[in-house]
Symmetry: C2
Subunit: 523 residues, 2 copies
């Protein structure tokens, strides 16, 4: 997705070096002979072979009569040996890019000779069985053996999925010679077996911001043991490699125009900038936007409500679910849709409170909590009514207010009003499903023309893939990291004032949302 | 022993970097914070920390309130972390240099803060129990498990001796943070667990000529696991790191004048050159010069004859032994002395044959082999007579002829006569004990003034020590390696002619040895 069209220069590749067999006139050692051939072939002075690789080289060279295919990777101008293959094999070399989400992990298999994706597979992060949220996992990691357990759960599952994916395409793990991994800072720490303890405690520091390229065997990833593993760097505890992958994937760091990048999740993460400068900011938005708290909230999946339309005249609910099944719950994007529709149809007011004479008999009290029946038991996939409670709405409003306040704060900080921003990139799979119109209606994002919002899909996976196949993309992630000024969000009086003003639908200042017009229904 | 007097710049050192503790205003990760402090302290841009070291860094930093002593080593302009220590410790950092001889291994403990030797210990190479000579060990290595057994024998013994040596001085293995190892090519391969199989088979190639700096844990050396281990490079199967250490230690590569470096052993290894150029040559001399074949021959040790004087008039033998004990055998230098004295006293002729009317009743036949009694049973530490046989003398003559021929060949090749050489450095512990006068008398080395011959002692250990403590000495060994032109000794007709002429005492061409004058005794 980068804008330039120069051919991609790989940093993981194979060559067929010319290596003359040894003779009495040229008794250079086998390893030095191989290095000499590689240097000549790559026109480089810097080639490194790990000590553990040396032992087998004479055997492989002599067995293949000194004609070998050599897989190498480059880092800091040094080419390092990954493996030697027989030159007759028709086989390609492959790589794996991984989006390390706290909820969902996606593994993509890539042909490194062509740069093309072969296949991909996504699965729930197995650490969910320890704790659905990051904080629970951080606490668990502090227990005796907890960190190792969390790491092993993840690594073993990733290994299993890689093997299945490779096996499906007749690819041996040994021919997978590279990996790139993007995730948030905590997930990355857990993947690496590094203690995340201080990430969530003042002064909120990770163990490490940027790592050198690792090798698969160091992480117990069972692809080629000498395969390089690029782990995306982070900027801090609350701004991880997934976001850097997002910036890379958006191409915003190549543009003259200033763009926003928004990642909506438990944390609202926002980047603003262009090819000159970048500022980033992140703040807690709560799990409501991800459907994490609502009584009927759940992660996207079959039967989950992802789209709601309410006829403002008849107040009839038109409910769409994933796979068209009977509804069993609602995901974050469905919830944003639902609340926007409730507001537009006058069923909730600008404070998000249920309007009795619009809600009518859909309104009920369960356990002394006011609830709105969204799906009646007879239409429900669970056999029970699916309800939205007043606290659910309150939580969503706090979350959307946090997002809008963070956007306002960063816009104020750089003195660039929303109207001067041509593009708001929306990162993450979740971003793909949000209807920007609904998000505008509830006042979560600025009231800009819909085409201003560009959903990018899984930018973490896309960025990881780009960095795996391209030398310049890989180098760029470290440039992006060093270029970003991270703004620590001071929850001061000004922030609280902005936040309070944003806790209305769409906002106390209606002039900020001119497109959101609500018919006055009798109350 | 290098000629320049500039202060030694170490490549293994400690620093006390300034590291500010993290705060909300500076939440750089611990590892990156440490790297930042090191970069500032060393004024460098390149600092590397291994992945395996990262895990413990936050704990050590916080426990020490971010005041730590950091041990690092430099290679290729990159400073790499060895370990973190508490800053209050009075303790120094230490290193170990090793001379990896096929017969004797010497371990020296060095204070890396001062560069001074603390202590050293030498012991028989435990691989001797597998085979006294290199070839037997190479064959043994080809057996199932043989290579590992040879490696383990050596490494375990080295570990044991290092621990004893360190313990004696109250030094913990963890504070030993560097190692340098010099040995011949086969010994180095066996130490590294690399198959020496092809070293002794055409076209005689090692597995590797030069290695990057390794780490102690890779070699199962139980000093600080992250300690760098510098393994001396080789030029080929027959020109090893011990010789490169010898050249370094001699300082000949800094001089304008052309010098010779001679290492006498089973192989005669010879280097000629100056600060501009270097040529090297090695050839089999047989084990005679090391006392390896003579019936009474043995390695230097208590009771071993190392000096012999025969009164040419009375033919009385004046025999000196190591430690002044009753004689039990003779070492190489003693053998050279003995044969020179036998020749000067007319007891052997210029072909090395016993002269009956000078040897008289010392001459006897044992097992149909002519022998000369050197020590009578009553004067012997073994209770038996110590005898020198005709084949012993013949073997020594072949060995000394090989050495002289190699010297002549290389001198002819570069067209520099012996008379233009101001210094002949004699390397090796053995070289220290050879009486150059005796060696001239038997025609093993050119007839030059005695002060021309400079014994250097254990140049392998000395060179390893220099390279361990000094950055420039370390870099120089690779420059020396790349500078040397290795001359493959063609055993052609010309060589054979020179060799035949040298198989006399001192030589067929008496003009070459004007100082060796023998009184004509009646025969």
């Amino acid at each position: 997705m980068t804008s330039d069209n120069t051919p991609i220069k790989p940093w993981i590749r194979t060559i067929l070096p010319e290596i003359s067999p040894p003779s009495l006139k040229d008794n250079t050692a086998d390893v030095d002979r191989l290095i000499r051939g590689i240097k000549k072939s790559l026109k480089t002075e810097k080639v490194e072979i790990a000590f553990s690789q040396i032992r087998e080289i004479p055997r492989i060279l002599t067995q293949n009569k000194y004609h070998v295919k050599v897989a190498l990777y480059e880092t800091d101008g040094v080419w390092r040996l990954i493996d030697l293959f027989s030159p007759d094999t028709e086989h390609h070399i492959y790589g794996v890019s991984i989006d390390l989400g706290s909820s969902t992990v996606v593994v993509r298999l890539i042909n490194l000779d062509s740069g093309a994706a072969v296949d991909e597979f996504s699965f729930h992060n197995p650490q969910i069985q320890i704790g659905p949220d990051i904080l629970t996992r951080i606490h668990y990691a502090a227990r005796e053996g907890g960190l190792k357990e969390l790491k092993d759960l993840l690594v073993e599952r990733i290994n299993k999925e890689i093997i299945q994916l490779a096996g499906k395409h007749g690819i041996t793990p040994n021919s997978i010679v590279g990996m790139a991994v993007a995730g948030n800072t905590t997930m990355t720490h857990l993947f690496l077996g590094l203690d995340p303890y201080r990430i969530c405690r003042e002064p909120y520091i990770p163990v490490v911001n940027r790592l050198d390229i690792l090798k698969a065997f160091q992480l117990e990833i069972i692809i080629n043991p000498q395969a390089p593993v690029l782990v995306f760097p982070n900027i801090g505890s609350y701004f991880g490699g997934d976001l850097i992958a997002g910036i890379l994937s958006s191409g915003m760091s190549h543009k003259n125009q200033v763009s926003f990048l928004i990642d909506v999740g438990t944390n609202a993460e926002v980047v603003i900038g262009n090819n000159d400068w970048m500022m980033a900011c992140a703040g807690a938005a709560g799990p409501a936007l991800e459907g994490g708290v609502a009584g009927m909230g759940m992660m996207a999946g079959p039967g989950v409500i992802d789209k709601v339309v309410i006829d403002p005249e008849t107040l009839a609910f038109d409910i769409r679910t994933i796979g068209g099944l009977l509804p069993i719950g609602i995901c974050g994007s469905g919830l944003i849709d639902l609340v926007a529709q409730l507001f537009l149809s006058g069923m909730i007011d600008l404070r998000g409170k249920f309007v009795r004479n619009r809600c009518m008999d859909r309104l009920t009290d369960i356990d002394e909590i006011r609830q709105l029946v969204i799906v009646y038991p007879e239409d429900s996939g669970t056999g029970r009514a699916l309800c939205l409670s007043q606290p659910d709405i309150d939580a969503l409003i706090r979350s959307k207010a946090a997002m809008y306040t963070i956007l306002t704060t960063i816009s104020n900080t750089v003195s660039i009003p929303f109207t001067e921003i041509e593009t708001f990139y929306v990162a993450g799979t979740f971003g793909t499903y949000i209807d920007p119109r609904s998000a505008i209606v509830i006042g979560m994002i600025p009231d800009r023309p819909l085409e201003t919002y560009v959903p990018l899909g899984n930018t973490s996976l896309e960025g990881a893939t780009m960095a795996l196949v391209s030398c310049s993309a890989r180098d760029e992630i470290f440039q992006i990291r060093d270029k970003i000024t991270y703004i620590e969000l001071n929850v001061n009086q000004e922030f609280m004032n902005l936040f309070s003003a944003a806790k209305f639908i769409p906002h106390t200042d209606k002039a900020l949302f001119p497109s959101v017009r609500v018919k006055e229904y009798g109350r």
